[in-house]
């Protein structure tokens, strides 16, 4: 009994010592050295060379950390205990962070380079007047297809996915907003439509797609499409460029009815320890030359009008990633429809999945 008590006590003592050391370590990491900048970004989503340039120019030491989903990033920042100075979430995550008071407003006077951004990518519904965020990259949702397997279908319209020649040959991304939004777009409605009649029409139309759907999958869609597992797939343009890097036979297209426009924007979380350096970094990334270099490295579409002019002709004139004006006008950001509507969208999506 005595030994047992002693063992328990010593465990508790050790635990307390560890707790104290850990908290000390955290404090020293966050506050002791004044001139560091912690960046929280998606994996492989910046040219490492740019970070070196930034350190050399400003003398600020950069600590670079990565996440693999908006949800993971949100949870980590919500829980606190982190000192991320700049984070790069997607549009809907920004709208959530804004609502939950997790962001510090940007001081636009410290961001003179913000004027380089094309006005059409500013002032989006997820962040009116860009109070909290500055655009980093943007993209669309479209169709990746294999011309060899697609039997002459051009996929310039969403309706081409319904073509009977594609029986059991289409892969879909496992996302309610993406799939129902596509159906709404194909019917000529907005992908933010909340009219029950329109949503039911979209579901009825989706149910007709069932014979063509080979699978509804998550991130595996990249691997499956690159392996020619299906003739066509509904994917984000960012994933599309990755897939085409792996399999040169494939092509990407944004259908003419319009589609989703998504953003990854730079924000300053409430937990930031070095707000000044964060502004310097954001302004640095908005510089035309830096943005151009980064775009060439990452391969996504840049919202920076001046950087776009600097890009090589074969990139900036690629209509798959920089659609012509009349199509760009039809692109829509996913509005935050509220939790109730999101649940309803998912309920409809579930009904589509269960359709046999």
């Amino acid at each position: 009994m005595k030994t047992l008590t002693r063992m328990f006590l010593s465990i508790i003592v050790v635990a307390l010592i560890l707790m104290y050391t850990a908290s000390r370590l955290n404090v020293s990491e966050g506050y002791s050295s004044g001139n560091t900048l912690t960046i929280y970004n998606w994996g492989d989503y910046i040219d490492p060379d740019i970070l070196d340039q930034f350190q050399k120019e400003t003398g600020i030491t950069v600590i670079y950390q990565t996440f693999d989903s908006n949800e993971a990033m949100l949870t980590k920042i919500e829980q606190g205990g982190t000192t991320f100075d700049v984070a790069i979430p997607s549009d809907y995550a920004i709208s959530k962070m804004r609502e939950e008071n997790l962001l510090i407003p940007l001081d636009h006077s410290k961001l003179p380079n913000l004027k380089n951004i094309d006005p059409k990518f500013m002032n989006q519904s997820f962040d009116p007047n860009n109070k909290y965020s500055a655009p980093y990259f943007w993209g669309t949702v479209g169709i990746v297809y294999n011309p060899k397997l697609a039997q002459g279908i051009k996929f310039d319209s969403w309706d081409d996915l319904w073509d009977t020649k594609l029986r059991n040959n289409v892969l879909l991304t496992d996302g309610a907003r993406e799939v129902i939004g596509m159906s709404l777009n194909s019917l000529g409605y907005s992908l933010n439509d909340t009219n029950e009649q329109h949503l039911q029409q979209a579901l009825t139309k989706l149910k007709k797609l069932t014979p063509n759907v080979k699978a509804i999958v998550g991130d595996e869609i990249k691997m499956l499409l690159a392996n020619n597992e299906a003739a066509a797939g509904l994917v984000f343009s960012g994933d599309a460029s990755e897939i085409m890097d792996q399999n040169a036979d494939l092509d990407f297209v944004v259908p003419k009815e319009g589609t989703n426009l998504w953003f990854d924007n730079m924000v300053i979380p409430k937990t930031a320890a070095n707000v000044d350096a964060a502004h310097k970094f954001i302004n640095f990334m908005l510089d035309p030359k830096i943005a151009e270099q980064n775009t060439e490295y990452v391969g996504y579409s840049t919202p920076n009008a001046k950087a776009l002019k600097l890009l090589p002709e074969d990139i900036s004139s690629d209509e798959r990633f920089y659609p012509p004006q009349e199509l760009t006008d039809k692109l829509e950001v996913y509005d935050n429809l509220g939790k109730k509507m999101l649940v309803h969208y998912n309920e409809l999506f579930l009904q589509f999945k269960m359709n046999k």
């Binding site: 009994m1 996302g175 309610a176 392996n227 597992e229 999101l342 579930l350 269960m354």
Partner: protein, 269 residues
């Protein structure tokens, strides 16, 4: 004094049970009465009894049944042969070995194996059967699930067969019972406990499978696990997710009681 010490020794276990068994179940039950906006409601249960969720429940039970059935059909003979082989320890190790590998990894491997350009299709092509679609259908889902769960079926049956007194079999044969009769009247009843716990170890987790439904079945098979995953990760409708979980917990308890899982322990005391 002795009773006192005993209860102190039990304390960590009580704390453990309260924190990690009772508290989560109570929380799940509690959340199931709230809607997305945090209002107290019974709407979640009403939603559950709509065709969408009922159909999902039926398909969950159906696939869990199939997985258990096929696991049993493969596991029983395998366990029986295992008791008669020479290098038993080695064979058992080989059966347990795959459970050391991460579930996700094993599932991903099957995407490659079953793929249109995978080894199985290459073999079928060489044999002249042509290309088959092996991935993204119900049979591949059942196959992979059976593969994953089979060790949990083999081991309890093997243990039950090991514990059985072999002279009983000889006695049955001496008294003129045929091979089939010996199996049906002697071996099977004596190993029933192993079969039951094996079925339980397979049926209950397979009721709420979710990852395999997407990776292997491409969401062509929808189970209650899929719905729970979606409600917690995508819509953040914790209330509805909890409601589905509560129904699953109740269903599992009912299954345990019906199959006598609780009754047996009472007899032990």
């Amino acid at each position: 004094m002795q009773a006192n010490t005993r209860s102190i020794y039990m304390l960590p276990y009580y704390i453990w049970i309260v924190l990690f068994v009772i508290a989560p179940v109570v929380l799940v039950g509690y959340y199931s009465f709230f809607d997305v906006d945090g209002n107290l409601t019974l709407q979640n249960y009403r939603t559950f009894f709509t065709p969408t969720y009922l159909q999902m429940t039926i398909s969950s039970f159906w696939y869990a049944f199939l997985v258990t059935l096929f696991s049993l059909l493969v596991a029983y003979p395998a366990a029986y042969l295992l008791t008669r082989t020479k290098h038993r320890q080695l064979w058992i190790l080989l059966i347990i070995l795959p459970t050391w590998i991460n579930l996700l990894l094993k599932t991903y491997a099957f995407i490659g194996i079953f793929g249109t350009y995978g080894p199985i299709n290459a073999l079928l092509g060489t044999l002249g059967f042509g290309e088959q679609q092996l991935l993204f259908n119900a049979s591949s889902f059942v196959f992979v699930s059976v593969y994953i769960f089979i060790p949990f079926m083999i081991l309890p049956i093997y243990n039950a067969l090991e514990e059985m007194n072999p002279t009983l079999v000889s006695a049955a044969r001496d008294l003129g019972a045929s091979g089939w009769m010996t199996f049906r009247r002697v071996i099977l009843p004596l190993t029933m406990a192993g079969v039951k716990s094996g079925c339980m170890a397979v049926f209950i987790p397979s009721l709420s499978l979710f990852m395999i439904t997407r990776l292997i079945a491409g969401n062509k098979v929808i189970t209650l696990g899929t719905a729970i995953e979606q409600h917690f990760l995508v819509t953040q409708d914790w209330g509805m997710g909890s409601t589905v979980a509560v129904v699953l917990i109740i269903a599992m308890a009912v299954i345990m009681i019906l199959s006598g899982g609780f009754g047996k322990e009472v007899r032990h005391d």
